[in-house]
């Protein structure tokens, strides 16, 4: 059974629809990503899941409960990290962890959690003196402190350095492996590709695609990137005749071709036919980034 069910969710601000019929279901124990450009309605969608906003239409269920009507029964099950929120400036990290522990019926032990998030060195530091990354890690700790069944993380790694981001990803994977369901809002494709079991791409208040990251990449017009430096220039006509090419770039003698597996085969036989050596030949799967840009470009074209 799905632990989060969102059905036909609608929410408008001042007559302008922000979420316009979003539906998805998150299975227990998965990391589910919500991706989309700024202003697509991602945050509003998860705020409805957290019970912070009352939907105009549609239904939201967390473990079968309505996050607004059954708020008191949902909050012990759901940990949240909000995109923009603060704590009292003079509250220390330790006091914040102890305070939020006291809010929950069966809290997790905050000490190992703080250690895991690298907060053990700043326990006596006041919130107002923390760096952006430290604040972010504290909010992740507070989202997990109630030992929730579901955590909702909005822009998880914003403000973290690359090392902190990697560490946080590992932590989220461990959280998932311990059986907790993770709903993750992000605009970092790399993060979604690395972490998410499934991804919903939201565009202009609607779900534009819902699949595994690999599935989304495979669906894109160009799922493979070939790059090489040919030993001598290739004929333009030959290049133009390559099948399934989505784009072709030339820079300082290096060729970058976006295409499919069919394109790869054709490039290799073209090189063989002309006895051209390919220096530093690289064939790579396209990233979720490419797939995402593809998808949103198609959607915007449709709208135009």
């Amino acid at each position: 059974m799905a632990i989060i069910e969102v059905n036909g969710l609608r929410k408008a601000y001042g007559g302008r629809p922000v979420v316009d019929g979003v539906s998805f279901a998150v299975e227990e124990g998965e990391i589910f990503g919500i991706l989309g450009p700024n202003g697509a309605g991602k945050t509003t969608t998860v705020e409805c899941v957290e019970g912070l906003r009352v939907p105009d239409g549609g239904t939201v269920r967390v473990a079968g409960l309505d996050p607004v009507a059954d708020h008191e029964r949902v909050t012990p099950l759901l940990g949240a990290q909000l995109q923009e929120s603060e704590l009292q400036a003079k509250l220390t990290v330790r006091e914040a962890l102890e305070l939020y522990s006291a809010f929950y019926p069966r809290p997790a032990d905050w000490r190992p959690l703080a250690e895991r998030l690298g907060l053990d060195g700043v326990l006596t530091t006041r919130f107002g003196k923390l760096s952006g990354g430290q604040r972010q890690r504290l909010f992740i700790a507070l989202a997990l402190i109630g030992d929730p069944r579901v955590v909702v993380l909005d822009e998880l790694t914003t403000g973290l350095d690359p090392r902190g981001r990697r560490d946080t990803w590992k932590l989220i994977e461990d959280v998932r492996d311990s059986g907790v369901t993770v709903l993750l809002v992000t605009h970092f494709m790399e993060e979604a590709q690395h972490l998410c079991d499934r991804v919903a791409v939201i565009h202009a208040g609607r779900v534009a695609a819902l699949d595994t990251p690999q599935g989304l990449i495979g669906r894109a017009a160009s799922s493979t990137v070939i790059s090489l430096t040919p030993s001598r220039p290739l004929d333009d006509a030959d290049l133009a005749a390559l099948p399934a090419v989505a784009s072709l770039e030339r820079k300082d003698g290096r060729l970058v071709i976006n295409g499919t597996d069919e394109t790869v085969d054709a490039v290799i036989s073209l090189l063989a036919r002309h006895r051209v050596t390919a220096h530093r030949l690289r064939v790579a799967d396209a990233t979720l980034d490419d797939a995402f840009l593809d998808l949103t470009a198609v959607l915007e074209e449709k709208e135009a």
């Binding site: 957290e50 019970g51 912070l52 008191e72 909050t75 012990p76 759901l78 940990g79 949240a80 909000l82 923009e84 929120s85 603060e86 704590l87 009292q88 003079k90 509250l91 006091e95 102890e98 305070l99 939020y100 006291a102 809010f103 929950y104 019926p105 507070l142 109630g146």
Partner: protein, 246 residues
């Protein structure tokens, strides 16, 4: 229950870490009383004041000053700040209602104001021989009603202001008239008749009259107590109606 106690404990700690409000609420009224009490002529009985001394009249003024500093000057920016900075929102996602945070702040500001009132009474008694209220029950009742209307007024300011900046502006706009009504510049008892009648309709003007009557040993006039109670009820209603959680 345990969670609300934890919130109150944590907010008490935070309250104690703010030296500014602590000074204005707890120390300043007694300091002002001390300075005025050190002026020799203010310690002479004045027939125009019915044989009282100026310093006698300034004890209730100091008490009301503490209420005003707590309710109108200190509290509204804290409440709007909690909303503005997403602290209430963050708490809405936990099993504890953010109202407990606001409740803790209201209780703490009320307690600090009452503590300051006790300090002003003690300073008046010990340093300048001001007699303790002759009608203690009436005095306590007037004090509690004054505290309640001050906190209700502050909560209304917080409810009506979208940002901390606005609440600071409204707070100081209300602050000076309220200090005037409490008799900080001219004690209410020596104001011209018409002015006194008007000032008596404000919560702190009424409080000043009620406190003085109780200090003199009489039961405070029901009209004064009634005016404070009306203000408190109306302002609590307004604050509850207008307050936005985000």
């Amino acid at each position: 229950m345990a969670a609300s106690a934890a919130v109150l404990r944590s907010e008490t700690r935070l309250f104690a870490r703010e030296p500014g409000p602590m000074f204005w609420i707890v120390a300043f009224p007694s300091i002002l009383l001390t300075i005025l009490g050190l002026i020799p002529s203010f310690r002479e009985p004045d027939p125009a004041l019915g044989g009282l001394r100026v310093v006698d009249l300034y004890v209730p003024v100091a008490v009301l000053l503490a209420m005003i500093a707590a309710g109108i000057q200190a509290m509204p920016p804290v409440l709007t700040g909690y909303r503005e900075r997403g602290i209430l929102r963050r708490m809405s996602t936990t099993p504890v209602r953010p109202a407990s945070l606001l409740g803790a702040q209201i209780v703490l500001h009320g307690a600090a104001a009452l503590g300051s009132a006790v300090l002003a009474l003690a300073v008046g008694r010990l340093a300048f021989g001001v007699r303790l209220p002759g009608q203690p029950f009436g005095y306590v009742l007037a004090l509690l009603l004054a505290t309640l209307s001050a906190l209700a007024l502050g909560a209304t300011v917080a409810a009506a202001s979208r940002t901390t900046k606005i609440s600071n502006a409204i707070g100081s706009a209300v602050f000076f008239p309220m200090m005037f009504a409490a008799g900080v510049w001219v004690p209410v008892q020596v104001m011209p008749d018409l002015l006194r009648r008007i000032v008596q309709l404000t919560p702190f003007g009424a409080a000043s009259q009620a406190l003085n009557q109780a200090a003199a040993g009489d039961w405070p006039g029901w009209s004064h107590l009634g005016i404070m109670a009306l203000w408190a009820v109306a302002l609590i209603g307004a604050a509850a109606r207008w307050f936005r959680w985000e």
